[in-house]
């Protein structure tokens, strides 16, 4: 045959609890125990409260640039819920909800945005990498982590998160390609929130879906309503099985939306239509989940009020912990450059205030400041 089909593929989209409150019992029943849904909702509330307070901290000069997560809580949280504690979360900066659930102390994330590297000192028993600022770079680290776990036969896997914009970077491609061809147990979750700062997602991909990026690698690929916690858990479970049992990767496009500015340094009104925003406000994952809970009498206005209050005071405590960590000592950035400080660096450190040539002794601190030992998040 002169023209002969040699490959066929299809991308599906999964939705369980849609924006109108319709719930698919076939897929959704018994997916998450009711008590867990309540806990997950409360966690989302906490994260949203933290998000709002972080915004205010930035505006009042108590924190640097901060990227609000609002509207995207369901995707990373659903993923974290489906993962084991032993699995790695390798994220960028819009996965607070999932990271906190996975065990990253929220005050560390605040500390990071307060301009302090100690915010990246993830506790040793939490399998997460720090927030990744340079776009598209962390997926390779996830592939390598998954590879290490495979070599060490621990059964653990890695799950990495990134935006629609990140899929344009070459490193995304290399990560997916390594994962597919070397059979690495890693899950790629793309949070397609419609925008990369001011650039709409169609500039990142003019294809009908981002999910089809995965087809290039012969990878199992799927699109999911990223504002639907149930659907996210559903596709994650499938991907986790594939990773753990077959050591094969999965690409998940979670369709969601950034309800706020890109960061506190941005003004989205310069480039985004009010109608688009309004349409997505109706798809808010919190509102949706609350509706589901209420319709099942698992949640009441009183509970809501109480939970909000709890969130508020919990976040206040988190902020207090973050702000309570004393500033690092002058010259602390010399420490941890290497396992052992080379002589020349020691000289630079010890004379940083007194001499450009370095013949003089220093007034600066010589010892590394210890990482903060934060209380755990949940």
């Amino acid at each position: 045959m002169p023209v002969e089909p040699v490959y066929r593929a299809e991308i599906s989209r999964v939705s369980i609890l849609d924006e109108h409150g319709r719930f698919d019992g076939a897929l959704g029943a018994d997916l998450i125990p009711d008590a867990d849904v309540v806990a997950l909702y409360e966690h989302m509330l906490l994260c949203r409260t933290l998000d709002e307070i972080a915004f205010k901290l930035q505006r009042s000069g108590r924190m640097g640039t901060y990227p609000q997560n609002m509207g995207q809580e369901a995707a990373s949280l659903g993923a974290a819920y489906a993962l084991d504690r032993r699995d790695w979360m390798v994220t960028c900066y819009r996965e607070n909800a999932g990271l906190f659930w996975h065990g990253v102390p929220p005050e560390l994330i605040l500390l990071h945005w307060m301009g302090d590297e100690r915010g990246n000192h993830i506790p040793a028993d939490v399998q997460a990498t720090p927030i990744s600022i340079p776009i598209g770079t962390q997926m390779l680290h996830a592939a390598g982590l998954a590879w290490a776990e495979k070599l060490r036969k621990t059964g653990a896997i890695a799950c990495t998160f990134f935006g629609d914009g990140a899929t344009s970077e070459g490193d995304f491609h290399e990560a997916a390609n390594f994962a597919a061809n070397l059979d690495l147990p890693v899950i790629f979750v793309c949070q397609n929130n419609g925008w990369a700062i001011s650039v709409p997602s169609r500039i990142q991909s003019s294809a009908p879906t981002f999910a089809q990026r995965g087809l290039a690698y012969g990878m199992e690929s799927i699109q999911v309503d990223g504002n639907d916690l149930f659907a996210v858990v559903y596709v994650m479970r499938d991907a986790i099985r594939r990773a753990r049992e077959q050591s094969r990767p999965t690409f998940i496009e979670a369709v969601t939306y950034r309800l706020r500015d890109h960061t506190t340094a941005d003004d989205a009104r310069r480039y985004r239509d009010a109608e688009e925003l309004a349409a997505w406000e109706k798809r808010d994952p919190l509102v949706r989940l609350r509706g589901w809970l209420e319709s099942r009498r698992l949640w009441s206005p009183d509970q809501e009020a109480a939970a909000k209050e709890r969130s508020q005071s919990e976040v206040n405590a988190i902020v207090a912990r973050a702000e309570g960590i004393a500033a690092p000592a002058a010259g602390d950035f010399f420490n941890h450059m290497y396992a052992e400080l080379p002589d020349e660096l020691r000289r630079q450190r010890d004379t940083m205030r007194t001499s450009s040539l370095g013949q003089d002794p220093s007034e600066c601190s010589r010892e590394p400041s210890p990482p903060p030992s934060p209380a755990h998040a949940h």
Partner: protein, 322 residues
């Protein structure tokens, strides 16, 4: 004559070169409707249209790599890399390709590309948004490296860079984007690439710097009251050794100030060249006031890292006391 910030001076230069030469196209992340994250390209998308002010996919290697093709195809691309930290993913296209095309094709494919990049620390930015990688590119043959320290120079140097037939990295010190204003002629003018600027004349010592630290040097001189000749290098490659050597032969003492890490920084090259060419004039070891051989810290400590006026002042006294 208008009283402009550095950002405004660059914006004006871009407008005027785009009016003059329709081969000039801008490409980068968020430079279109949004006018750039620092608003350097504000209004250009509206004025010149989406064909000439192009929001690209989020991919720095792609931005520089397609700029190479655009240049081969007869255009004069002016790509923006959003922060100096994101030159990293573009390193290969910049240093192994843009820098080499003219010479590897014996002149057949010149590379008239001007890569605009905000650079340096001091604005409380997140990680990889505050570095000073200029020495890397100074060490890379085939590229010219420019860094203005004033609105006037920014406009004139950017126009020179865009017209230059070779690839130029145009570093924009973000700390002084809006720090002060200066009279800038409304007409087009050029500041030549390869020529330093003597900011203040003086007899006791020579200070060489570039970018935002030039302002720190001015403050240190004012505070210390010494007669210092301050040279703003402006072009980092090829740099103006003539002006430096003439000054050092007169003063015999030198302080070099830069934000980049010390080891193998451009300060080392300048110091070595001074030693090579002014050996008998030197009355004291040359002092370097620089960033340290560390990662630029997160912002809580960034002022510790940056060579501020204090450290410059101490170096001046040290070199005079020798």
């Amino acid at each position: 004559m208008a009283n402009l910030t550095l950002v405004q001076a660059i914006n004006l230069a871009l407008i005027q070169e785009m009016e003059l030469d329709d081969r000039v196209v801008l490409l980068g992340e968020d430079i279109g409707r949004n006018g750039g994250v620092f608003r350097v390209t504000e209004g250009l998308w509206q004025r010149f249209g989406a064909e000439r002010v192009v929001d690209t996919p989020l991919a720095e290697s792609g931005i520089i790599g397609t700029s190479i093709g655009l240049a081969m195809g007869g255009m004069r691309p002016v790509p923006e890399i959003q922060f100096e930290g994101f030159l990293g993913p573009a390193y290969d296209q910049l240093c192994s390709h843009a820098a080499r095309f003219r010479t590897r094709t014996r002149g057949r494919f010149p590379m008239p590309i001007t890569v605009r990049v905000p650079v340096g620390g001091g604005i409380h930015a997140p990680e990889l948004h505050s570095d000073s990688p200029e020495s890397i590119y100074v060490h890379t043959p085939g590229i010219k490296v420019v860094m203005p320290a004033s609105p006037y120079d920014a406009k004139g140097l950017l126009i020179s860079a865009i017209r230059d037939p070779d690839p130029v990295i145009f570093f924009e010190p973000k700390r002084i984007y809006r720090a002060f204003r200066e009279d800038v002629p409304e007409d087009e003018y050029t500041v030549p690439i390869g020529k330093a600027r003597v900011v203040t004349e003086g007899d006791d010592l020579t200070i060489v710097s570039w970018g935002a630290p030039v302002v720190d040097c001015m403050n240190a001189i004012e505070a210390g009251g010494r007669s210092a000749e301050l040279i703003d290098l402006r072009t980092l490659y090829p740099f103006d050794m003539e002006t430096i050597a003439a000054s050092v032969r007169r003063t015999g003492r030198v302080v070099i100030v830069h934000e980049a890490p010390r080891t193998c920084g451009l300060g080392a090259e300048i110091a070595t060249r001074i030693m090579e060419e002014c050996f008998l004039s030197l009355e004291a070891p040359i002092q370097r006031v620089t960033g340290f051989d560390t990662i630029m810290p997160y912002y809580k400590l960034e002022l510790d890292y940056l060579p501020g006026a204090d450290r410059v002042g101490r170096a001046i006294e040290e070199v005079l006391a020798y």
